[in-house]
Amino acid sequence: MEAVVFVFSLLDCCALIFLSVYFIITLSDLECDYINARSCCSKLNKWVIPELIGHTIVTVLMLISLHWFIFLLNLPVATWNIYRFIMVPSGNMGVFDPTEIHNRGQLKSHMKEAMIKLGFHLLCFFMYLYR
């Protein structure tokens, strides 16, 4: 049972790592003008919900399997994901809004966020791996 949980978590974490990397690449593409804001945001918005679900599943799984430490570790990130998704203003086109992404350093903060998540998922990855 334990093994199944961690194998699943490991796979899920892999997916999340890839997703983070994808976010970073896409955002830096935007930064470098290789793609425009519109396509960048529509690409990224597509993956916001999968990411949210993926991460929530792991978190819940850890709760169910009573791995308290890992659960608590995951909780803040999962909460942030959900909070961010809920707080999108009604007029915006998603977490990433093409009309605002170039304003007020949003691009930079999105980038930072993706980096932090990547680090976090890597950490989790090794944690799951060596359990």
């Binding site: 003008d33 804001a37 007020r104």
Partner: protein, 1261 residues
């Protein structure tokens, strides 16, 4: 920095080399300019020049603005033209003064002339011992001190000692910079000498003259010209009020002494000082407004007249030393007394030499302390230093370019002497005379060129050119006339002796005022009597003259702080305010095969680049050294070769290029207009259709466009109606689509039709339309589906969609619910629903923007229509928004009239299609937030489906890297668009600003109006993204922070008082005005739509209009006199003083005019003089004035004439013709008038004084 938009985030991302634009092309074919000048004066209507045949020469790598969102990387390929490098050094002849004064048709002949006349100078020089001597000595001195200017300048910046001197000066109310000025003048003085021998004088004359179409000029007349020029070239700047003038005069004179003594120059200076003061004295004695005029000039120069004035000055300086012989020979000719001047000149010439000596010997002093810095600098300067050392190397045209350098005096002589000289005879012969020509031209450029590429030396040229202000002071404005006769005589003296002085007094004269600490709580009248002008960046005159007009391009800080830390310390917002597509009366249009741009950052060549030698130029934004393409060497204006620095691109900071096919992704689109009209019951009831159709019928022929222009109509209620106007039909066909869930186009080909082919059908339709729906009972509005259909219709071409909507959309996609709670209108707490309710309109707008379609919204509603959501369709597609609350064609005639006038402007104004705008700035600065109606497609590329002349933009900047190694920063806006005639054009504006390292300098350069407008934009963002109260707090904090930051810098003043620098004295007042503005006010009943509309306007209006919206102008008009009046087109326009916006200024006996930008109020007091009422309003007494009066009758009385001419003058040059309301003291409409009196207390808001106390309290906390 607690500016509304929040903490100073570093910019979003690194700047990326831009890529919209072709490759640096290799086409070298000189532009064959036939007789008629290729540069025509371009008014709003573009006159086209010959099109270059070189299409296709270029690299096809560009990203044209069409809606392709997938751009590939690496757009910047370019084909450098490997041309041989000539060995000689042309020096940095970057910004020649004399060229293109006004690139109008007239110019060319003028230029030719001037060139013909150029050569005479050398002869003159040779034959005139006096001047020659002066020149020689000056040159030799120059030689010794050539390297000093830099260091001395550095000194200013670095040595603490100087600062202390400065600060002491500052505390006396003078700008802290004066010490610096003095210093640099000392060293600078060297420069002028170089220039004189080779006579920069001629050219400007010829030019100026010809630009005024008087080609018979003879060089002989030069001395008299100043007068002439001044008169003509300065149509009519507003004279500043007398009081100010005096002040400034004083400060000027104060300067001369203070500044010179402050730095502690060696004794040798004494004579110099005396000379200066002496020469200055006459200036002061001159009829009152000389100085003031020059000031006003300085302020206004950027408006077109300015160009000529500095040129004049250089001319004069040149003339003074070298040209007098001819003048003496023909003493009779000149209009103004010349005989005297000539003698004077000579005399001065001698003095001049002496002066030079002084300068040279004194210069070294400051140097010694700063050798380190000097070295550092030399590294930076590669170009400048190198060039001076190599000047003597053999060159094909030694005569010309050596002179440039300023380092090689022997050459100067030889060159000037050797140059072929057909003597003063005016030579209109168009034969290009490359070799001789540069000689006269060169010296100046060299002086000025230095500064550009790198840091410190920059200021110097200013001093040398400083003479200009004095001259310019002479010309301008009506009042200067009496004075100008004397001036020509004084010029020589003034120019030579106090060239530095003149410069400094003028340059710094705004400063004492802008830095003078003002105790706001004590100062009762902070508002000046005249309109507030934009501060002039503290640059040298040459740059000032070339700089972009503040009307098009303004920065909140005209002195850019060196580091982000300094900016944070100043607590002021840093940003740009743009009005890029403004209607210009004068615009150089350039047709050439090669548009010269920097190969790495794609910056367009501009007046602030430096020419390292004749073949290379250094980009002023990224500092890359680029090659000058062969074609650029030829100057079509002068028809001469080898003067890249004289090309109009390098002579004007606002130019327009005709772009080649490199700049297109597809053939330029035709003008396409689609009207989408609401015809539901509500709309028919309001009756806007009649007005619209009438306006359209009247203006159908004036719609901008060419023979390809297309037009279409759609109407909608709960269904969508299309109109088939295909040529050949006997009458318009109406096609109804009732499937609003899946809209389709019934006959896609015949809905948008050629305006000219189907004109009759269109007219039929327009005549029929108002009556077609009179009996409709349909109350629903399917706006969303109609917009989708419009998008489908427009997407193949792009163009403009004008949507007329009268209610909340209630059917189909994009339907909206009413979100406003009327009970919350005057709530002081939360104002909700400032943001859009759905992303439908935003998505639609982005789709439209991608297809080069802009959606303009006319909202004519009587109830809540959720403008916050609807506005999105215009905001992101670069459209514009018009809002007419409670519109009704009969019940509300003033709104109807406003609609009519707005429509007239809207339909006929210029329009640019498929536009993109890119803003670039010097390395180290970055842009991070944009305001306006557009879509930011990539970091610095704004996608504008349409651009109209009334659109303004704002950009926030941050300083990413320290700017210590540069002393100038530049900003360049390039707007690429398709004109309505199907031409691809690029309008480029370049603004140049100095970098400062001290906090005091930052405060001295604050442009308070720009700062307020930027803050307003930031506050709008904040209120939408956060909350209104946050935004209001942020506005108050902006005042509190900046004033407390300033308070802590001036420690010697008592802290209890609320101290502001002169430049910021209006800041609290304007912020208070903002807080009482419809957009941000609380506590007063404000409908949500009104508020949102005010916010939209703040975001999209250009600064001039926005300022009137924020802080209206109040004038008393019942006692207009001709005192201080100005003359416009044979009309006398009285200039009443500005009144502060307080009821205390209103008297029952008076009548007051309030100019709120889009609306005028005339308030008539109860006890107003019956004579005034009768003469101006046409009614016998107060009681008989009707409640709703919107026009002043044309009465044949003096006061009526004055009032009308004043109002007409205010209306002129304003896009929307404002509606006039006559408000009687007792009428209910007076509340509207009184709510604009922002200095007064209202139930919900502070009075000005209370606000100050509040701010003070916050500071002390």
């Amino acid at each position: 920095m607690s500016a509304p938009a929040g903490s100073p985030h570093p910019a979003a991302s690194a700047r990326i080399p831009p890529k919209f634009g072709g490759a640096a092309a290799s086409g070298a074919a000189a532009l064959a300019g036939p007789g008629p000048a290729p540069h025509q004066q371009n008014g709003p209507a573009h006159s086209q020049m010959q099109v270059p045949s070189g299409y296709g020469l270029h690299h096809p790598n560009y990203i044209a603005p069409s809606g392709h969102f997938s751009q590939g990387p690496g757009k910047m390929t370019s084909l450098p033209l490997e041309s041989q490098h000539d060995d000689y050094y042309s020096g940095l002849y970057a910004v020649p003064t004399q060229n293109v004064v006004t690139p109008s048709t007239a110019n060319q002949s003028g230029v030719q002339q001037m060139y013909g006349r150029g050569p005479p100078a050398p002869h003159v020089v040779g034959s005139t011992p006096g001047s020659f001597q002066g020149a020689a000595s000056s040159a030799s001195h120059l030689y010794t001190s050539a390297s000093q200017p830099y260091s001395s300048f550095v000194n200013h910046y670095n040595s603490p000692a100087l600062y202390s001197a400065n600060s002491s000066v500052a505390s006396q109310g003078f700008p802290s910079t004066c010490g610096h000025y003095a210093m640099s003048t000392v060293s600078n003085a060297v420069y002028p000498n170089v220039s004189y021998p080779s006579l920069p004088a001629d050219d400007p004359y010829g030019q100026i003259f010809t630009s005024q179409n008087a080609p018979t000029v003879r060089p002989v007349k030069d001395n008299s010209f100043p007068g002439q020029n001044t008169v003509i070239s300065h149509p009519s700047p507003l004279p500043p009020p007398p009081s100010q003038q005096h002040q400034q005069q004083q400060s000027l004179s104060g300067y001369s002494t203070l500044s010179w003594s402050a730095p502690g120059l060696p004794p040798t200076q004494d004579s110099l000082v005396r000379n200066h003061t002496g020469s200055l004295a006459p200036t002061n004695n001159n009829p009152t407004n000389t100085v003031a005029d020059s000031l006003s000039c300085a302020v206004m120069q950027n408006v077109q007249p300015r160009k000529s004035s500095p040129v004049v000055s250089t001319v004069l300086s040149g003339a003074s030393s070298t040209r007098m012989p001819p003048a003496a020979k023909h003493p009779g000719e000149p209009v103004t007394p010349v005989t005297q001047p000539s003698e004077l000149l000579q005399h001065k010439g001698m003095q001049y030499g002496e002066y030079v000596n002084n300068q040279a010997s004194s210069a070294p002093t400051p140097l010694s302390s700063t050798s380190d810095d000097e070295e550092e600098e030399e590294e930076d300067e590669e170009a400048g230093v190198d060039s001076s050392s190599t000047t003597s190397s053999a060159s094909p045209m030694p005569n010309s370019y050596d002179a440039l350098e300023g380092g090689s005096y022997p050459d100067v002589h030889s060159s000037s002497a050797s140059s072929p000289a057909p003597d003063p005879a005016p030579d209109p012969d168009p034969v290009p005379a490359p070799a001789p020509v540069p000689a006269p031209a060169a010296p100046q450029p060299s002086k000025m060129a230095k500064p550009f590429g790198y840091g410190y030396p920059i200021l110097q040229p200013g001093y040398q050119n400083a003479t200009a202000p004095l001259n310019s002071g002479v010309h301008p404005s009506s009042q200067g006339y009496s004075g100008y006769q004397q001036y020509p005589q004084q010029y020589p003296g003034v120019n030579q002796l106090s060239s530095g002085l003149g410069g400094l007094s003028l340059q710094s004269s705004p400063q004492p005022e802008s830095l003078r600490p003002i105790n706001l709580t004590q100062e009762r009248n902070v508002l000046p009597m005249t309109p507030v002008w934009a501060p002039v960046p503290n640059l040298n005159l040459e740059l000032k003259k070339l700089n972009c007009s503040p009307d098009s391009f303004r920065c909140t800080l005209t002195n850019i702080p060196q580091t982000q830390a300094l900016l944070n310390k100043a607590k002021l917002p840093l940003g740009l305010l743009l009005h890029p597509f403004r209607d210009l009366t004068q615009l150089p249009v350039i047709t050439s095969n090669t548009i010269v741009r920097c190969r790495s950052c794609r910056t367009y060549i501009n007046p602030f680049v430096s020419f390292i030698d004749q073949r290379r130029w250094k980009c002023n934004l990224c500092y890359r050294v680029n090659d000058v393409p062969e074609e650029f060497m030829y100057n079509p204006l002068t028809r001469s070769y080898g003067e890249p620095h004289k090309r109009p691109e390098v002579q004007n900071s606002t130019v327009e290029f005709i772009a080649s096919s490199d700049y297109m992704l597809r053939p330029p689109q035709p003008a396409v207009y689609l009207f989408v009209l609401d015809v539901s019951h509500n709309a028919v009831e309001a009756g806007y259709l009649t007005i619209l159709c009438q306006s359209l019928l009247e203006n159908l022929d004036k719609l901008p466009g060419d023979s390809r222009t297309r037009i279409g109509f759609m109407t909608f209620d709960s269904t969508i109606h299309f109109y088939n106007l295909q040529e050949g039909l006997s009458q318009p066909q109406m096609l109804i689509v009732s499937d609003i869930d899946d809209v389709f186009l019934p006959t896609p080909d015949s809905l948008l039709v050629n305006l000219y082919e189907s004109k009759e059908l269109i007219k039929d339709l327009l005549n029929a339309l108002p009556n077609m729906f009179t009996n409709t009972r349909e109350t629903h509005s399917a706006l969303g589906p109609a917009l989708q259909a419009a998008f489908k219709l427009m997407s193949p071409t792009g163009g403009r969609v004008s949507v007329f909507q009268t209610q909340l959309p209630s059917l189909g996609a994009g339907l909206l619910q009413s979100r406003e709670d009327p009970n919350q209108r005057s709530s002081t707490k939360v104002v909700q629903h400032l943001g859009p309710a759905t992303d439908f309109y935003k998505k639609l707008a982005l789709d439209c923007s991608g297809q080069q379609t802009a959606v303009d919204l006319f909202l004519l509603s009587s109830q809540y229509s959720d403008l916050a959501s609807l506005a999105c369709m215009s905001k992101y597609s670069a459209g514009c928004i018009y809002y007419y609350p409670s519109f009704h064609h009969t019940h509300n005639p003033s709104q109807a009239e406003k609609l009519q006038k707005d429509l007239k402007r809207y339909l006929t104004r210029k329009i640019g299609f498929e536009a993109v705008m890119r803003i670039r700035c010097t390395k180290g600065l970055s842009m991070h937030t944009f305001h306006g109606n557009f879509f930011v497609r990539s970091t610095d590329l704004l996608s504008l489906a349409n651009i109209n002349p009334d659109a303004g933009f704002a950009v926030q900047l941050s300083i990413e890297e320290s700017l210590t190694d540069t002393s100038l920063v530049c900003f360049q806006t390039a707007l690429l668009y398709t004109s309505s005639k199907g031409e691809r054009r690029i309008r480029v504006h370049t603004l140049c600003l100095p970098v400062v390292s001290s906090l005091a300098d930052v405060y001295a350069g604050v442009d308070v109006q720009a700062a307020i407008c930027l803050l307003a934009n930031m506050a709008v963002d904040r209120s939408v993204s956060s909350s209104l109260s946050d935004a209001r707090d942020a506005l108050v904090n902006a005042v509190v922070d900046s004033l407390s930051a300033y308070g802590s810098t001036v420690s010697n003043l008592q802290h209890s008082a609320l101290i502001a620098p002169g430049s910021l004295k209006l800041f609290p007042l304007y912020v208070l005005a903002l807080l009482k503005q419809k957009a941000f006010r609380t506590g007063t009943s404000t409908r949500l739509d009104d508020r949102v509309y005010a916010m939209c306007q703040i975001k999209s209006q250009p600064l001039v209009h926005l300022m009137k919206m924020i802080h209206p102008n109040l004038y008393r008009i019942d006692r207009l006199t001709d005192e201080g009046a100005i003359h416009v087109n044979d009309r006398v326009v009285p200039q009443p003083p500005l009144q502060k916006l307080s009821a205390e200024k209103l008297t029952r006996e008076g009548a007051f005019l309030m100019d709120c930008g889009s609306v005028f109020y005339i308030w008539i007091g109860k006890g107003c003089d019956n004579n005034f009422i009768e003469d101006v309003l046409g009614y016998p007494n107060f009681v008989s004035i009707p409640q709703k009066m919107t026009h002043l009758p044309e009465l044949d009385t003096l006061s009526s004439e004055r009032a009308r001419s004043f109002i007409t003058w205010l209306r002129d040059g304003r896009p929307q013709s404002p509606i006039l309301h006559v408000v009687k003291d007792e009428s209910p409409a007076k509340t509207e008038f009184f709510q604009h009196l922002i200095e007064d207390r209202t139930e919900a808001a502070f009075s000005y004084y209370e606000f100050l106390l509040h701010v003070q309290q916050q500071i002390c906390k």
